[in-house]
Amino acid sequence: MDASEEPLPPVIYTMENKPIVTCAGDQNLFTSVYPTLSQQLPREPMEWRRSYGRAPKMIHLESNFVQFKEELLPKEGNKALLTFPFLHIYWTECCDTEVYKATVKDDLTKWQNVLKAHSSVDWLIVIVENDAKKKNKTNILPRTSIVDKIRNDFCNKQSDRCVVLSDPLKDSSRTQESWNAFLTKLRTLLLMSFTKNLGKFEDDMRTLREKRTEPGWSFCEYFMVQEELAFVFEMLQQFEDALVQYDELDALFSQYVVNFGAGDGANWLTFFCQPVKSWNGLILRKPIDMEKRESIQRREATLLDLRSYLFSRQCTLLLFLQRPWEVAQRALELLHNCVQELKLLEVSVPPGALDCWVFLSCLEVLQRIEGCCDRAQIDSNIAHTVGLWSYATEKLKSLGYLCGLVSEKGPNSEDLNRTVDLLAGLGAERPETANTAQSPYKKLKEALSSVEAFEKHYLDLSHATIEMYTSIGRIRSAKFVGKDLAEFYMRKKAPQKAEIYLQGALKNYLAEGWALPITHTRKQLAECQKHLGQIENYLQTSSLLASDYHLTEEERKHFCQEILDFASQPSDSPGHKIVLPMHSFAQLRDLHFDPSNAVVHVGGVLCVEITMYSQMPVPVHVEQIVVNVHFSIEKNSYRKTAEWLTKHKTSNGIINFPPETAPFPVSQNSLPALELYEMFERSPSDNSLNTTGIICRNVHMLLRRQESSSSLEMPSGVALEEGAHVLRCSHVTLEPGANQITFRTQAKEPGTYTLRQLCASVGSVWFVLPHIYPIVQYDVYSQEPQLHVEPLADSLLAGIPQKVKFTVTTGHYTIKNGDSLQLSNAEAMLILCQAESRAVVYSNTREQSSEAALRIQSSDKVTSISLPVAPAYHVIEFELEVLSLPSAPALGGESDMLGMAEPHRKHKDKQRTGRCMVTTDHKVSIDCPWSIYSTVIALTFSVPFRTTHTLLSSGTRKYVQVCVQNLSELDFQLSDSYLVDTGDSTDLQLVPLNTQSQQPIYSKQSVFFVWELKWTEEPPPSLHCRFSVGFSPASEEQLSISLKPYTYEFKVENFFTLYNVKAEIFPPSGMEYCRTGSLCSLEVLITRLSDLLEVDKDEALTESDEHFSTKLMYEVVDNSSNWAVCGKSCGVISMPVAARATHRVHMEVMPLFAGYLPLPDVRLFKYLPHHSAHSSQLDADSWIENDSLSVDKHGDDQPDSSSLKSRGSVHSACSSEHKGLPMPRLQALPAGQVFNSSSGTQVLVIPSQDDHVLEVSVT
């Protein structure tokens, strides 16, 4: 820029704007330094401190140096900033005082006066010093003097306003230094000027803005003022600040529009409400759209003009700021906003005009962005631009519809007129895009020119948009655009192209469960499929729509009718079926079987009742409903048995089916959980860890494609099963809602039948439910006839009549007239025939079906029961009375012959509890009419009584006591008790001491009977007795038959008393009573009562001189520890076997307690030597002596022979004398042979006098 020659340059609003600096003085000098100056000035940034707390900025300064002219100085009130000279520089090279005084000073003064007149204080005087000149002129003043002079003359207190630039064109360090100082000064001054002037400008601007409520305030005027500021910021490359200015203007305007809409109108705004006449879109290719700016300046701009201009400026600045994506974002916002504002301000807009404007603007923004970004950038920022693409597509679509370009026939004349009007509003193409082939203008014009061109452009845009949405994962948006496209194709009668988009969208809505969009898209799809002639698909979609509650009743009926119409058409190929899934047509709600346990015998009738919920809006006549049944022979046959049948009764037998179409889509939660495992890989050589990681084992499950699982709309998956077994129901009319349908079938082969498919046929249309789930099965069974015999009570009692229940399960066998059960009689068990016994026949389900009298014929061997006639799979029940003849369990295996049946004694049980009844088993073999084999049945009878006997003695008198214990739960009446001697000893008499002949015996209680034994001659060594007593249940009044008495046999041995033992205790001599702690004497008297008897003949008997004697051992034992036996407690005596032979023994005992004490026991044993020859040599006393220590230990209640033997063995172990010798044996005398006459007697013991403590023992 050659400042010296150029006239006042016109303000061109381009990026080339720079702050103006004027140059006065020596123009040649300036021209010489200008190149260096303009180059050096922007090289270093300078910090600009701002007012109003704005952040300081580093700024690179550039300047436009122009020659100083007075006209450049702004006049009062001029708001122009771009043309404002921020600094005035005076250049001089003067080094001669004369010259200074002659010309320079005057010139400077003049310059200063002009500046002062315009109150401009931003000036600088530059004195260029040149060494070359100095040398030439000798009479020059020192340089400093000129500088001083100038400073003195002009820089009043502002010495910094004058700088020296030394040798500017030389290349020396001094020159460099000088330049640096100068440039710094220049920059500082420039910034000072900016701060000052811009601050003042901003203040003025704010003042102006505050006046906006005053009438006559003009937004356009204010706009120009603030834009001036924006320009300056832009000029200073402060784009951010510049953008803020526009944003503020934008916001201010928006607020006005909003307020206007709210009724608070500003006058100036009505300018913007002019009808829209031009809609040529945004222009973003020029930094400043002068045309629009001028129209604003002239206050002629429309709203769209203002908005377009404002946005184009914002766009320019944003692009400078490298924020193209914000442009896209703001553009969309702007376009939406403009449409809204025009609506709000009720500006009249020709139809389609805004669409044109928006379309052009979208493309313009997109092309502008594309123009400044590379492909990769664009691709990675699709998310920002796709909105514009989509918006443009939408607008083009609505233009197409408006101008009749989407219809099949093409535009009519009205459409054409509209098109012409729209094109007219576009005006001529602007010069800047005239050469661009793909300019928005050309595109729109072309698209509106013909149906084909529109299609091409629309498809291009749509596809581009869908692709972009898809690429950034906005699937839903892509599908939505796709739906528009489908609509377009449908209008163009190209349903084959529409289908894919509709299917895609539908799949998406189904997957996410959006009911209304599903319905709407399905409706569109139905139309499409109808046009395509996809009968099956169409019918299926129709059925889905007919059952869709989001449609109106009429629409549903329409689609239902479509199905019915098709179904009623005569089919071209008979037998051709259209198979559709059932769930949309009707739903299986529940099912129940009759019989409810779903088990039926062969030949039986099974009913299956299902509830189908028809989804159709009208009643539908269904030719047939078929259930396909799969038959299998089940291995587990238990299910088919009668037991199963009776035990497994389901509560109501109703199986409910879950609703098939869940209202929500399959949730993502149903995905399997991640299965993560740690993984280590070690080096094989040294086992060091090479790699570690986590692996997911079920990746294949998790990363499966989601779509593949939800092919809900595909009817192809339904296959019709053809099975041999079907349940069929014909001619059913399904009313809307729940319908009951009953299938009836007769069971044939035994096995398990699984319900698989449910089909309903309407003409050639078959609705199929491919799988019935949960699994529904019924079983058909075949059963062998069976006979069960069981007691009615818990257990059968022997001896009295007992009821037994016979159950005949007929199974597949039919009981004919004359069929009978043949019972082979058991000897000890009677079958009691009663005239009135009846048999009841039950059906399989335990319902009584008939009752008949039972005919029973008995012969010796066989009892024949004729069965009533009964059909197969029925149950016959009747009861019979049986009587097990009583038998007494005899003791010790003596009387086996008594149990005529098979007395079966459970010895162990008996011993253990003593309370268990003895049982008897009777086996009956039964011949059944259905089998050649006999059935053997065991009946167990329990004997209700347990009997024990005891021999009682009183001296030599003997009594037999019989105890009858009732173990059963019943009470009995006992009568006619007898005890007879079966040994037939004539001199023996049994005298009953029982008074009553009849006696009740209650449950769990005992009755005792006593007889006295009397004899005249020598009594026999043993006595065989039989006890018998009649019994009958106490409760029953009358029994039809006489019952056999209960018998009990036993044997009594050695019952004759041989010895009498008498013990007496005497107090110590001189004392009246025994005292505790003092020794008393115990006197035992053993008396033989009889002469030699048969029973005495044993080893112990010794004979000498016609006298017989036997060896006895006595023992004194006190088990209750009342007495301390002092000295020997036992001894062996030789007892003469003769009546009245007496042996007396004295002992010392000491009472340990006071009171009436029972005497210590005295026991007698038979002392048997091992060999009678050596026994005499034995000194029994010495042997006893050795044993004295063991006496006290010997405390068993019943010292039986075994314990004595063991005692003997202990002795043999410790006595070396008799080592190796056979030991003598002890044998207890039978209870009947010894009578203790002093048993039960007591002795009074008083406490010793010096005892301070009285111990009383109560026994």
Binding site: E248, S254, Q255, R330, L332, E512, G513, P517, F664, Q668
Partner: protein, 164 residues
Amino acid sequence: MGRGLGGRVTSGGSRDAVPGAGPPKMAVCIAVIAKENYPLYIRSTPTENELKFHYMVHTSLDVVDEKISAMGKALVDQRELYLGLLYPTEDYKVYGYVTNSKVKFVMVVDSSNTALRDNEIRSMFRKLHNSYTDVMCNPFYNPGDRIQSRAFDNMVTSMMIQVC
């Protein structure tokens, strides 16, 4: 968007808001969407085409997903549930909000309804969230089921535009 709003806010001092004028400043459609993206609740003003809002809300889920995944990376700790403007259309503005359990609230507001600013929308979402929490607290409500609570319905009604 953020930048644009910022610009406006700085000049907010010069605004002349006109209170109490125009139609009630409320939503035209409110939707609650499950984590799996099916609607738990959706209601729009009865005068409008319900279907349109269903499509709109459904499509807006694209942006919700985008924002959630962007947030997942950047603002895990910040717990900002409000997603802001999802996308504007010519006639409506769609706002989003996501609970910590990834249940989404979507609110559609008429574009001409300029009185509804971010803060109002936020507080409406908070109200909605509170009411939704009450629904969840009902022991008889099965999470994942459609919301049929009358209390929730009434609350939504109070936030919807009143049709004269």
